[in-house]
C-alpha cells in the first residue's frame, strides 16, 4: 500500500507541473478566446532565455527578470503583428495561427540563445524528504513538493489579481464579451498584450521548474502536449479546472503506467510500456463523452 501511495503522490505532484503549463493556456483562452498552441513553445523560449542570460554571465535573479522582459516583449509583438490583424476571423484560424507561432518560436529561441541542452540550477534538489521517508516510508521528492507549493502560490496570486485588481476586472470583462468590454471603454489591445505577458510569466515559471528538473532542451515544447488533456478535462476556461485536471491526469497517468502494462502483458504477451503518451488523452476523451465541456468549463448553449 505504501507503494501505491508513493506512486499516487508522485503522480499528483507531477500533475501540478502539467497544471502550470495548462494555466498559461487557460489565461489566454479566457481573455481572448484564442486557443494558444504555442504555450509549450513559450515554456521552451522562457527557459532558454533564462539559461541564455546565465551563460552570458548574468546572475540568476537578473536573468529571470530579463527573461520576463523578453516574454513580455514577445507577448506584445504577438498581439501587434498576429492577433490584431486576425480579429473577426474564426477561432479555428486563430488556433492554426498559434501553431504557426509555435513553429516560429521553436526556430527563434535556439537561434537567439543556443540550442545545446543545458542544466538550470535554481537551488532545488530532487531528493526524498527524510522526515516523510522515515515516518511513513514513502518517497516524496523535495523538488516536486516545492514546485507544487510554487504552483499553488501562483494560482492564488493569479486568483487575487483577477478578482480584486482593476486590470483583473477588465480582463474578466474582456473574457466575457469582447464587444461589450470595448463599448464601455476597456482598451482591448492593451488587455490582450497584458494577458500574453501574464501567460509569458506563467510559461517562465513552468519553464524554470521543468528546465531545472530535466535540463533546458527542445523536449520542453512537449509539455504543451502534456497540458492538453489536462485542459480538456478541466475545461478551457477554468483556472481551478486546470489545477484539478492536472492532479487527476498526473495521478491516473502514473498509476496506469504501473498497473495497466502488466495486465495487458498477461493478456496479449509483449511489452506494453510507454502508455503515458496516449493514456491521458484517451481518459480525457472518455470523460468528455460524459461531460463535453470538461469539469469546470462553461456550458455551451447553441443558438441558431
Amino acid at each position: 500500500m505504501a507503494f501505491f501511495f508513493e506512486v499516487l503522490i508522485g503522480g499528483l505532484l507531477s500533475g501540478i507541473m502539467y497544471s502550470l503549463v495548462a494555466l498559461g493556456f487557460v489565461l489566454i483562452f479566457k481573455a481572448s478566446g484564442v486557443f494558444n498552441f504555442a504555450q509549450g513553445a513559450m515554456v521552451y523560449f522562457a527557459a532558454l532565455a533564462v539559461v541564455g542570460f546565465i551563460d552570458k554571465g548574468v546572475p540568476l535573479w537578473a536573468s529571470v527578470i530579463l527573461a520576463f522582459i523578453v516574454m513580455t516583449l514577445f507577448g506584445i509583438a504577438t498581439e501587434k503583428f498576429v492577433l490584431r490583424k486576425m480579429v473577426n476571423q474564426p477561432p479555428i484560424a486563430l488556433f492554426m495561427a498559434t501553431i504557426g507561432l509555435a513553429f516560429f518560436v521553436e526556430g527563434l529561441a535556439p537561434l537567439l540563445f543556443g540550442n545545446d541542452v543545458r542544466p538550470l540550477d535554481i537551488g532545488l534538489v530532487d531528493e526524498p524528504i527524510p522526515a516523510i521517508l522515515d515516518s511513513l516510508n514513502i518517497v516524496v521528492s523535495r523538488f516536486d513538493l516545492t514546485a507544487a507549493g510554487l504552483a499553488a502560490l501562483l494560482v492564488i496570486v493569479l486568483a487575487l489579481f483577477f478578482q480584486y485588481t482593476r486590470v483583473g476586472r477588465a480582463l474578466r470583462a474582456v473574457a466575457d464579451d469582447h464587444q461589450a468590454a470595448l463599448s464601455i471603454g476597456i482598451p482591448l489591445q492593451h488587455i490582450w498584450a497584458l494577458v500574453w505577458a501574464v501567460a509569458g510569466f506563467v510559461a517562465l515559471v513552468a519553464g524554470m521548474l521543468w528546465g531545472a528538473r530535466n535540463g533546458v532542451q527542445f523536449a520542453l515544447t512537449f509539455t504543451a502536449l502534456k497540458a492538453l488533456p489536462v485542459l480538456i478535462l478541466g475545461g478551457f476556461t477554468s483556472v481551478p479546472g486546470a489545477i484539478v485536471g492536472g492532479l487527476i491526469i498526473g495521478a491516473s497517468e502514473k498509476l496506469a503506467e504501473i498497473y495497466i502494462p502488466p495486465l495487458m502483458q498477461s493478456v496479449f504477451s509483449g511489452n506494453f510500456g510507454g502508455i503515458e503518451g496516449w493514456f491521458p488523452y484517451v481518459m480525457a476523451l472518455l470523460f468528455l463523452l460524459v461531460r463535453p465541456e470538461g469539469l469546470f468549463g462553461e456550458k455551451h448553449i447553441d443558438r441558431v
Partner: protein, 358 residues
C-alpha cells in the same frame, strides 16, 4: 481575352451541371492531365519522380482527405498522419497475410480499414465540438502510433514495428521503376481527386458545408448530424488511408510507426491552410508549397550565408526553416486566409476581364 465564357450557352441540365462548366477550364484540365500522364514521364529524371513528384502526389491526397474533414465538414483533426499509418499497415497486412491479394484491392481495403478507424475516433465529434474535438483527435494520433509499435501482430512480428513492403505488381506488370510508380500514384490520385470534386458538390458535400457553417442550424433544416459527420470522418480517413498505403508501397518501401508523427499531421494541416481550406485545388497547391519550401530553403540559405559571409551551420539552417515555416503560416492566415487557391481564383477573375477591365 482567352478566358471568357461569353457565348457558351448551356442548353441541357447535363451541360449546366458538369464539373467544369467553362470550356477553357475543361481544355486546361485535359492539357494538365496530358502533361502529367505523357509529358512528365517522357522528360522527368529518376530523382524528380522519386523525391518530388511521388511525395507531392501522396501528400496532396492526404491533404485532400484532411480538407474534406476540416475544410468541408469543419471538424478540425490533428491526427491525419495516424490514419495514413493505419492505411500503410493495413495494406501491408493484407498483402502479406492473404495469398494472391491484388495490390489495388489491398489499397482499397486499407482505405476502408482507415475509414473504420476514422469512424471510431469520429464518434466523439457527436458530443464534442471545436477545440475539444481537435485535442480529442490527438488521442487517435498517439494511440494508433503506440498500438502499431507495441502489437507485434500488426507489423508481422518485425522488431519495433518497422515494415518493408513487398513490390507492387498489377496483372503481371511490375511497378518497380520510379516512373511506373509515379504513373500508378498519379492515376489513383486523379481518380480520387475527381471523386472528391464530385462529392463536395453533391448532397453529401452540401450537407458537410451546412454542418461546418453551423451544425445546429443544419440539424434544424433536417440534415442528419451523426450520419453527416461520421461520413466525413470515414471519407477523410479513406483518403488518408490510401495515401498512407501509397506512401509505404510507392514512396518509401519501408516505414516505421514513428514516421507517422504529430509533426507529419501538422505538415498536412499546413498544406491545407496554405493551399486553401475547403478547396480541392488548394490541397494540391498547398502540398506542392509545403514540400518544395524546405528544398528551396536548403538551396537558398547556404548560398545566402556565402553571400553575406555569415556562418550558417546545419542547426541554424533547420532553425531558420522552422521560423520561415511558422512565419509563412501566420502570414497566410493574416493576409490570405483562403490560401493559394483563392489567389488562383482572383487571378481567374482578373483574367476574365483582361485586357479590357471596366
Amino acid at each position: 481575352m482567352f478566358y471568357r465564357e461569353t457565348g457558351q450557352f448551356k442548353t441541357s441540365y447535363g451541360a449546366d451541371q458538369q464539373i467544369f462548366p467553362i470550356r477553357q477550364d475543361r481544355i486546361g484540365i485535359v492539357l494538365l492531365l496530358a502533361v502529367a500522364f505523357v509529358g512528365v514521364p517522357a522528360l522527368g529524371s529518376e530523382y524528380f519522380f522519386s523525391a518530388i513528384l511521388i511525395p507531392f502526389l501522396i501528400f496532396s491526397l492526404a491533404a485532400l482527405g484532411l480538407n474534406i474533414l476540416t475544410g468541408y465538414a469543419g471538424q478540425l483533426s490533428l491526427g491525419s498522419a495516424a490514419f495514413m499509418a493505419v492505411g500503410a499497415y493495413a495494406a501491408y497486412n493484407f498483402q502479406v497475410r492473404v495469398e494472391g491479394m491484388p495490390v489495388l484491392v489491398s489499397f482499397v481495403l486499407a482505405g476502408l480499414t482507415a475509414a473504420g478507424v476514422g469512424i471510431l475516433f469520429g464518434l466523439p465529434s457527436l458530443r464534442i465540438k471545436g477545440f475539444y474535438l481537435a485535442v480529442a483527435t490527438l488521442a487517435a494520433q498517439f494511440f494508433i502510433v503506440w498500438c502499431l509499435t507495441k502489437f507485434p501482430y500488426l507489423s508481422n512480428d518485425s522488431s519495433s514495428g518497422v515494415i518493408s513492403v513487398p513490390g507492387v505488381s498489377i496483372l503481371g506488370f511490375d511497378f518497380d521503376t520510379p516512373r511506373s510508380k509515379y504513373l500508378l500514384v498519379l492515376t489513383l490520385v486523379t481518380l480520387l481527386a475527381l471523386a472528391a470534386k464530385n462529392m463536395v458538390r453533391s448532397t453529401t458535400g452540401r450537407a458537410w458545408m451546412a454542418v461546418r457553417d453551423m451544425d445546429v442550424a443544419a440539424e434544424v433544416i433536417g440534415i442528419r448530424l451523426m450520419h453527416t459527420k461520421l461520413l466525413a470522418f470515414a471519407v477523410s480517413s479513406f483518403y488518408c488511408g490510401v495515401a498512407g498505403a501509397l506512401y509505404a508501397f510507392c514512396y518509401l518501401g519501408s516505414v516505421e510507426p514513428d514516421g507517422f508523427s504529430l509533426d507529419m499531421s501538422f505538415r498536412i494541416l499546413f498544406m491545407i491552410i496554405v493551399g486553401g481550406v475547403g478547396s480541392i485545388l488548394g490541397s494540391f497547391l498547398g502540398a506542392a508549397f509545403i514540400l518544395l519550401l524546405p528544398i528551396f530553403l536548403d538551396i537558398v540559405l547556404p548560398a545566402l550565408s556565402e553571400l553575406l559571409h555569415l556562418p550558417f551551420d546545419g542547426a541554424t539552417v533547420s532553425h531558420i526553416q522552422l521560423m520561415v515555416f511558422g512565419a509563412l503560416i501566420m502570414f497566410f492566415l493574416v493576409v490570405e486566409p483562403h490560401g493559394l487557391a483563392r489567389l488562383w481564383q482572383i487571378a481567374k477573375e482578373k483574367l476574365r476581364l483582361w485586357p479590357f477591365p471596366h
